[in-house]
Symmetry: D2
Subunit: 400 residues, 4 copies
């Protein structure tokens, strides 16, 4: 039985002065939990009008010490090591899921049952079966269930989405997309839950691939089929717990041929062994009328090419144009009087703003658990494709 | 008579848990005041250990309405339209000067007399005479008097400073530095205090030039002489107050030949008419042993060239190397587990952190009012040079 | 019966002053035939000592008019419309194969039988069967049989090859390589032999793919398996001969997953529909010790990343280094006193120089018909893979 | 008495088949003489119709051995060590001046008196007095007197000129231009004529500065005044003739503030000590309607920014657009069927083509000795400005 009395509509805030702040329950206070917390503290300075005030009520961490740290650093009113203490409270409306992948399922289930609005860091869950269960449960509640697909909230990718919707690309022929990291090139980097299938559900594909997949699906629509190579190059890593080494059973490198429902073809790649890169999420899309490109290492720019512009006045063979997209956030963004460069942490502020605005307005919008499920289906299909050396169809995303 | 009982040493905080938070008094809550406020709210998430906690006590704005907004947005405990209410309070330790240029002098004088730690947005004052007076007064107190020369706090420029101090450049031969904006290319942009000498004290040179001058002086040492061109291309602009136009009497474009005390030569340029640019602060420095370069529009990178490396193993003619400097803040920076890109607002967080750490430790460090004075002397010398079409010597920066 | 009396060794030229010039027979004088002719005329200015002088003896074109043009433009001593007139002459030592793909087989067979040195523009032939036959025939002669894989002769790719051979990359994990053109995005571009399988043997894959494949095989060694997507998006094009349209039966876009014999994985892509590109051949290779990258649109640079360099003196997170490779041709290149940029036509000069040096020295070197055959096997395997939606193994390149 | 019977009009070639080839006399066969020779040999392949055929008749070199080399390499019909043997011949119509600077004056005078068409590598002469004399003499003949300002003949700069003429920039406000080399950073590079005022007439300013000055004057019109810094950092260099060192009495670095007749301001810089650069000629020009930029190290691109385009369809803040300018030579350029990259040597081919076309048509066009004189006046004014630490006016270029 779901607690329907806590559904979203009651948080629609018509008069911010009067409305109570939305209470935040943060589950997990590692790197990403801190980033979410930073985003909450930044919101009131960045948006005017603010869709809703938020209040850092409780934080759940693995140890009491880290909970105390969270209280001191961020001003959470209390800390706990049992997430149920957050889920059970009436004054906590927003649950942030920032735990390792294998802890998502239980938390999300309980938070859904409690009717909470949820802001879930990717991936939705560890396995497709878990994701299907969570998505089915989510469909039964009206609260806002949001994935932190923060790369949708870069000014340049927001502009890319607009261009796509305006028909700027025409018929999309092909694309190439990749999320390149080098964080595991060092073979002495120790084993961790991210390298173990039973805790992570996947390697580069699960960790980075869901981001780039979601962004491409956001821009290109549904995907129809995948053909994946998954490779593990460094098969054992030092295990600090044993002093020896432990096996790595997830992919270091994932390369996926794809076909979209619209007929475009292209590759999606995710890797932790791209020596020489840092945080290089990038894509290029080529259509009959135009092309767009993006590279996260130059986040302030979108590259576009308009194939329909007559050659004059710039004439001759035209080349790609860089559109400057620094802090081109739409209203109510209010800090951008000047054209200052923007970086990764700010994308999370704007991603969170969109979530809070959805909660406040009762209009879900944004990347939902259905989108999280789509990414999970992609990962699962890739894993089956790689195991069978064959193309695997993706089910149509019916939402049911 | 200065209130010496409020000098810095009493705020040295040996045990953060016990120490009272440093009280903040924000004077001005326009764009830059908001940015400073954002920085205060971000500090505790970004640094561990935090040098000191800060508390947003009071804000001074031009109108009651904007004061109320500041309270709601940022949580200031009270708002006022009279900065003396901030300066007079014992529970306000840090005064932020974020007003238009012509209001700096009175505020700084009062804040200095009250023994406050001061965080002053550039420029120090409107005129050199005012700056000399403020700097002289500052020398009589031991509080921390800091300029917000935030471009010293970009990871790439921090690394540049390290390289310079390590002797990476050898003898510096030459450089070119510029701060390029296009914000006033539109001739219909109305008149404002920034375009009127009696309120701003200068145009592009005062607004942008002091930033790039300070950065070059930070990297290259004192400057010995300047030879400036100051140009006003759009001499009248619409005046909303009159419905007509009003004269612009400050420079749109400033181009300055310089010579450093160390014998290097180079240009410093500041402009508001650089069509096609957004926020392009950049420099290139060439020395006998190496070269470095930076462009704010690609803030995550420093370009370096090591002229002493033997050609092997990369061999042949080597070219410049981009050093990735994303979130390469030194400890106690604590959010950078990953290598995420960084943008303009974060530079202010780190600039503020350095100020707060100075206050907490009693060790001034960082860009001081003496540095603000040096920038003002540069502006004044450029204005005299341009008026006389001649080289003008800069006085040695003796601090007296 | 092969004419062994014309084998290479007799052209070894020990004393250039005395040696007769090598006679050139150019078959085809379209764009690429002109480029080869330009290369011959440039050789003596670019190399000192020159490996051998060459003499433009005869040219074979489709029409008498074009033959006359070739004589006037380039100084060929005679023109013909029958290539056998070139192949049969004793004073022609070098046969250039610059015809459409479907004319290669007959010409190569005759030229091989005549014992000529051959400089064959890619691809070797139209089909794998033809290529196998030509390669088998070539193995029976000792003349030099060279493919014009000119992208091996860019200063940056020459340097890349050196780095690979020095072990700079360590174990190669992965790569991505592509040759992107947009030449056929316009659906009104008429049909031509390049768009018809019976004349070309393939589309983007045959036209562009063999170049990028050869370059990756040159750098990474043999390939073990491929998994290809071949797509035709614009299926009919105007046919000037009929006034109607004719079908396109070759690939517009080819995307190939691959695995090398050494265990690396990566994609090879060739396309004529990459809207917004011009002539963008590019690759990135990631290894355990380093990474390299190249983009033909910035031909003067190679990007490298040395993962073994300790962080000092450049410290922090290092990024990729661009190595300037302008005119870094090894001796006997003699024009490069200065560091001038280089472009596409020059790559052909140096490609030809390598061929002429091989003929002169009797040391084959360079890309041979075996390399042409390997590229053809790649194309054939991709075509079979795409037809069957399955991975296809590449035969080991035994040379027999 | 000038030999008017050899003036240009008699070489106007109405029917190329019938016309005799223009005879070439090459004076100097060092690096630049070889480049000019390469250009002659390339012309017939690159242009159709060819404006005129040229014939490499004679070459004048410092030694008999180098003359023999030139004959072998390039096919000159004869070699001499006395340039008068070239100037005196009726079958030599084009005299190339490729000697060190101090040999220009005598050669040019004799060639002018003989009525030859002249193709003079920059600078025109060693001193302004010599240049005035040569220009005065040139005004009395109708032959074509051309400077090799080859940077006017880069596809990107040709397009830049078109844009300027179309009014793309609107009112030009400011620019920055530089020609950066690092060739003399090594203090052990020996003394040479280029470092000695009595032979070269100037240092970086004379060697590189005339190129960038000419290009800016070509794009922006006449210059009104200059204010120059000239610096010599490495004041002595090894002298192989003495085993000791000899003084350097020319500038290593030249930085020039300028004002154009049209009211724009900007810097022109030339340096041999720009550590980390190779051959970096670059400019940025900002106007009321648009901006353009170029960097020789990326010669295939022009950067443009159109300030008049409404924000849609690309919307938001637009950034600069790169126009691809690969082989965008106008007709009769005939080799550019594809979009291949281009490099430095080709600029000389097209520069020469323009000269030959002028000779053939009798229409001078292109950079003339008047342009060479203007550059020399610029150098002279800069030298006087630096000596006096003052602004110096440039005389209006009246041509008399």
């Amino acid at each position: 039985m779901l607690n329907k009395s806590l559904l979203g509509e009651k948080y629609v805030i018509s008069d911010m002065q009067e409305a109570p702040a939305l209470g935040v329950g943060m589950v997990g206070y590692g790197f990403i939990g801190k980033v979410h917390t930073f985003a909450h503290r930044s919101l009131p300075l960045f948006y005017d009008p603010l869709p809703a005030r938020t209040r850092l009520v409780g934080v759940c961490t693995a140890t009491e010490a880290s909970g105390q740290k969270a209280r001191q650093q961020a001003g959470y009113e209390f800390a706990t090591t049992d997430y149920r203490e957050l889920v059970d409270r009436d004054d906590i409306h927003l649950i942030h899921c920032c735990t390792p992948n294998d802890a998502h399922h239980a938390l999300l289930k309980d938070a859904l049952r409690a009717g909470k609005h949820i802001y879930c860091d990717k991936p939705l869950t560890r396995t497709l079966a878990e994701a299907e269960e969570i998505a089915a449960l989510a469909r039964q509640t009206k609260a806002v269930h949001r994935m932190t697909f923060n790369y949708r909230f870069v000014p340049a990718t927001l502009r890319a989405k607009e261009l796509v919707e305006e028909g700027f690309l025409g018929t999309v022929y092909q694309f190439r997309a990749a999320y390149l990291h080098a964080g595991y090139v060092d073979p002495n980097r120790p084993i961790s839950w991210r390298l173990q299938m039973d805790r992570s559900g996947g390697g580069a594909l699960m960790d980075l691939g869901v981001h780039i997949f979601d962004l491409m699906r956001h821009l290109l629509g549904e995907f129809a089929a995948v053909n994946a190579q998954l490779e593990t190059f460094i098969t054992r890593r030092p295990d600090p717990r044993t002093g020896g080494t432990s096996p790595v059973d997830v992919d270091d490198v994932a390369i996926v041929q794809t076909r979209t429902a619209g007929g475009a073809v292209g590759t999606i790649e995710a890797t932790r062994l791209a020596t020489g890169t840092q945080d290089e999420l990038r894509f290029e899309i080529h259509g009959s009328r135009g092309a767009i490109g993006f590279n996260l290492m130059e986040p302030n720019w979108l590259t576009v090419y308009d194939n329909t512009v007559p050659e004059a006045p710039l004439g001759g063979e035209r080349g790609p144009q860089h559109i400057e997209c620094v802090t081109r956030y739409p209203k109510p963004y209010a800090l951008g009087a000047t054209k200052n460069t923007i970086g990764w942490p700010q994308f999370h502020v704007h991603c969170l703003q969109d979530f809070v605005a959805s909660v406040a307005s009762g209009n879900p919008g944004g990347p939902s658990f259905e989108d999280g499920l789509a990414a999970q289906r992609f990962v699962d299909a890739c894993q089956r494709s790689a195991a069978s050396n064959a193309w695997v169809d993706l089910p149509a995303a019916t939402g049911e």
